[in-house]
C-alpha cells in the first residue's frame, strides 16, 4: 500500500507571511515515498467539513520522516483557518502522497516558476532537480520562501505592486532578465499557467504545469477534479483527465486550460 491515511504529528508551525503558514509534520511512511509536485489531502477535525484540503508538498526531510507544507488561509471559518491553529504536539489527519509529481529527469536549463501559493512546491523541486535552475517566483506584494529558494538556484522575483523584483508577473521577470530555458516547471494561478503554455509553444519548449481543481476522493475514483485533455484519455475514454490521479502535473500540450 503506497498511500497512507492516518494521523501525522505536528512538529512545528509558524506564520511566514500574511495568511501564509508553514507546517512541518512527521509521518515517516509518507516522507519516504513523497516526490516534489505531489500533494496531501488534509482533513479537519470539524465534523461539518467533510472534504479534503489538497496541499502540495513543499519540502521533504526523508531522514527525519518529515514533510513541510506551506499554505494560505483562505478566509474565516475555513478548513485552512483550523489548520493554522495547530501546534506542536497536535495531530493532523492526512492522506498521501497523492498525484504524480514533477518528472525529475532534467533535459537542460530549467525554469522553476511559482505564482503566489504555487511557489511552495518549487522548493522541493529545486532541491531535487539536477542541472541549472532559474527559479522565478511571482507574488502580489508580500514575499515568502524566497530565502529558502535562493539556496537551490538563481532566484528572480516579480511582484504585482513592484515592491520587490520586477514589477509585473513572472514572464515580465523572465523578459526583464532576458532568461531562457529548455524546460519549464510551473505551479500557480490559471492565467499564469495559460501564459506559460503559450510561451512554451512560442519557444517550442517542454512545459510541465501543476493544475488545481476541487476534489472529493483525491485518489481518482469520484471524477470531481477533471481537466480537459486534448486527446481522449485512456482511462476516462473521453477528453477528461483526473487532476488528483493523472496529475496534478501535466504537459502543457496535453491539457486545455
Amino acid at each position: 500500500m503506497s498511500k497512507y491515511k492516518g494521523q501525522a504529528a505536528v512538529i512545528f508551525q509558524e506564520q511566514i507571511a500574511t495568511d501564509i503558514y508553514s507546517l512541518w509534520i512527521e509521518v515517516p511512511c509518507m516522507a519516504s515515498e513523497a516526490k516534489p509536485g505531489q500533494f496531501l489531502s488534509l482533513y479537519t477535525q470539524d465534523g461539518s467539513k467533510l472534504l479534503p484540503r489538497p496541499i502540495s508538498i513543499c519540502e521533504i526531510d526523508k531522514l527525519q520522516g518529515r514533510l513541510r507544507l506551506v499554505y494560505r488561509v483562505t478566509g474565516k471559518e475555513t478548513g485552512t483557518e483550523l489548520f493554522s491553529r495547530l501546534e506542536s504536539g497536535d495531530t493532523l489527519e492526512v492522506m498521501g502522497p497523492l498525484g504524480n509529481g514533477f518528472p525529475l529527469e532534467n533535459p537542460g536549463r530549467a525554469f522553476l516558476i511559482g505564482g503566489g501559493i504555487g511557489v511552495p512546491p518549487m522548493l522541493e523541486l529545486a532541491k531535487q532537480l539536477p542541472g541549472a535552475k532559474q527559479i522565478i517566483a511571482g507574488y502580489r506584494d508580500e514575499l515568502f520562501l524566497t530565502e529558502d529558494l535562493e539556496r537551490y538556484g538563481e532566484l528572480y522575483v516579480a511582484t504585482e505592486d513592484g515592491s520587490a523584483g520586477t514589477r509585473g508577473n513572472v514572464l515580465d521577470a523572465v523578459r526583464e532578465h532576458g532568461l531562457a530555458a529548455d524546460v519549464i516547471y510551473a505551479c500557480g494561478p490559471a492565467p499564469m499557467l495559460r501564459a506559460l503554455k503559450a510561451y512554451a509553444e512560442e519557444y517550442g519548449i517542454v512545459c510541465y504545469i501543476s493544475l488545481e481543481e476541487k476534489m472529493a476522493c483525491g485518489i481518482g475514483a469520484c471524477l470531481a477534479c477533471v481537466c480537459r485533455s486534448k486527446e481522449t484519455d485512456s482511462h476516462s475514454n473521453v477528453h477528461n483527465k483526473r487532476v488528483c490521479k493523472d496529475g496534478p502535473v501535466f504537459l502543457s500540450t496535453e491539457v486545455e486550460i
Binding site: M1, S2, K3, K5, Y43, G47, S48, K49, L50, L51, P52, M95, E213, K214, M215, A216, C217, G218, I219, G220, A221, C222, L223, A224, C225, V226, C227, H235, S236, N237, V238, H239, N240, K245
Partner: protein, 300 residues
C-alpha cells in the same frame, strides 16, 4: 453469527455495499480496503456510450455534506466490460452495475449488453439530478418509473434494483410503481437537489448551477424514506444516504433496509465500508442477534 443477506436470490456475505459513483469500480479503493470484505461493489453509472460529464467545478462542500454534479461521466459500456468487470472478478464480492441513460433505449441497450457479462445485479439509476435528459426525469414520475422498470425487466438477465429519487412528494408512490413494474429490489436515496452560491464571485458554486446533496446532512431524510418504502412495498430495500459508521448503517437496517450502501464517507474515510461491516458484527454480538436480517425493520 450470520451476516449474510439475500437480495432477490443473490446472496451477499454481508449487507455492506458501496454507493454508486463514490467508489469508481473499486480499483482506487482496493489500496485501502480488501474488496472481498464487502457484500457487493456497486459501480459508477455506465451508459451505452462514453459520457464526458459536466464542466468543473463539479463539487462543493456544504455543512456535513457535499454537492456533486459530475454529470455521469463514464467511459461507456465497452470499456467498462473490458476493464472494470475483469478487475472486480478478482475479488470474492458481488458485482452490481449501476446503469444510466438518456432514453429508454439507452438503458435497455446497456442492460442487454450486461446480460452476457458475469455481473450479479443491475442497479438502474433513474434519479440522477445532474443530467438534463434521463435520470431524474424518469424518477419523479410514478408512471415513467413503472414503464422503465417493466422495459428493463423484460431484457435483464440479472435481478434489477431500481434506484429512487428523494426529490418527490411521496416516495412510496414511485416505490410502488417500481414494484408494479417488476423490480426485484429498491435502493434509496439518491441525492437531494441543492444549490450553492459563491457570494464573493456572485456565481453558482457548481458549473451546473444545481447539484446533488449527499453525506451525513441528508441522513435523517434518507432514514425516513427507507422506513416509508420498506413499510409500503414487499421488496427488499437497500438503504443509503449519509452512512459513515456502523451505527448509521444499523439505523437504516432497523428502519427497514435489508442492505446498505456507503457513499460520500468513502471520500474522507477510504476504509469506511469495511469498518461499517465490522461494526455491524460487533452490534450483533453485543445484543445477541443471530442473523443480521433480524435487524431489518425491527423499529416500527
Amino acid at each position: 453469527m450470520d451476516t449474510k443477506v439475500n437480495l432477490a436470490g443473490v446472496e451477499l456475505k454481508n449487507p455492506v455495499m458501496t454507493a454508486s459513483g463514490t467508489f469508481g469500480s473499486g480499483e482506487e479503493y482496493s489500496e485501502f480496503v480488501d474488496l472481498s470484505r464487502l457484500g457487493a461493489v456497486v459501480t459508477k453509472g455506465v451508459a451505452n456510450v462514453p459520457w464526458p460529464g459536466n464542466p468543473v467545478p463539479r463539487i462543493a462542500e456544504t455543512k456535513s455534506g457535499m454537492m456533486n454534479a459530475i454529470g455521469l461521466q463514464n467511459p461507456g459500456i465497452d470499456v467498462f466490460c473490458r476493464r472494470d468487470i475483469p478487475f472486480l472478478k478478482q475479488f470474492d464480492t458481488k458485482i452490481i452495475v449501476n446503469v444510466c441513460g438518456k432514453t429508454m433505449e439507452d438503458y435497455c441497450e446497456v442492460v442487454e449488453r450486461l446480460g452476457e457479462e458475469e455481473v450479479d445485479m443491475l442497479e438502474i439509476n433513474i434519479s440522477c439530478p445532474n443530467v438534463k435528459e434521463g435520470g431524474i426525469a424518469f424518477g419523479q414520475n410514478p408512471k415513467a418509473v413503472e414503464e422503465i422498470t417493466a422495459e428493463v425487466k423484460k431484457r435483464a438477465k440479472q435481478p434489477v434494483i431500481m434506484k429512487l429519487s428523494p426529490n418527490v412528494t411521496d416516495i412510496t408512490e414511485t416505490a410502488k410503481a417500481a414494484e408494479a413494474g417488476g423490480a426485484d429490489v429498491l435502493s434509496l436515496i439518491n441525492t437531494l437537489t441543492g444549490m450553492k452560491i459563491d457570494i464573493h464571485r456572485r456565481a453558482f458554486a457548481l458549473a451546473n448551477k444545481t447539484g446533488g446533496l449527499s453525506g451525513p446532512a441528508v441522513k435523517p431524510v434518507a432514514v425516513r424514506m427507507v422506513y416509508q418504502v420498506a413499510n409500503a412495498v414487499k421488496l427488499p430495500v437497500i438503504g443509503m444516504g449519509g452512512i459513515e459508521t456502523a451505527e448509521d448503517a444499523i439505523e437504516f437496517l432497523l428502519a427497514g433496509a435489508s442492505a446498505v450502501s456507503v457513499g460520500t464517507a468513502n471520500f474522507y474515510n477510504p476504509s469506511a465500508t469495511v469498518q461499517v461491516a465490522e461494526g455491524i458484527e460487533d452490534y450483533l454480538e453485543r445484543y445477541g442477534f443471530e442473523h443480521v436480517s433480524d435487524l431489518t425493520g425491527l423499529v416500527k
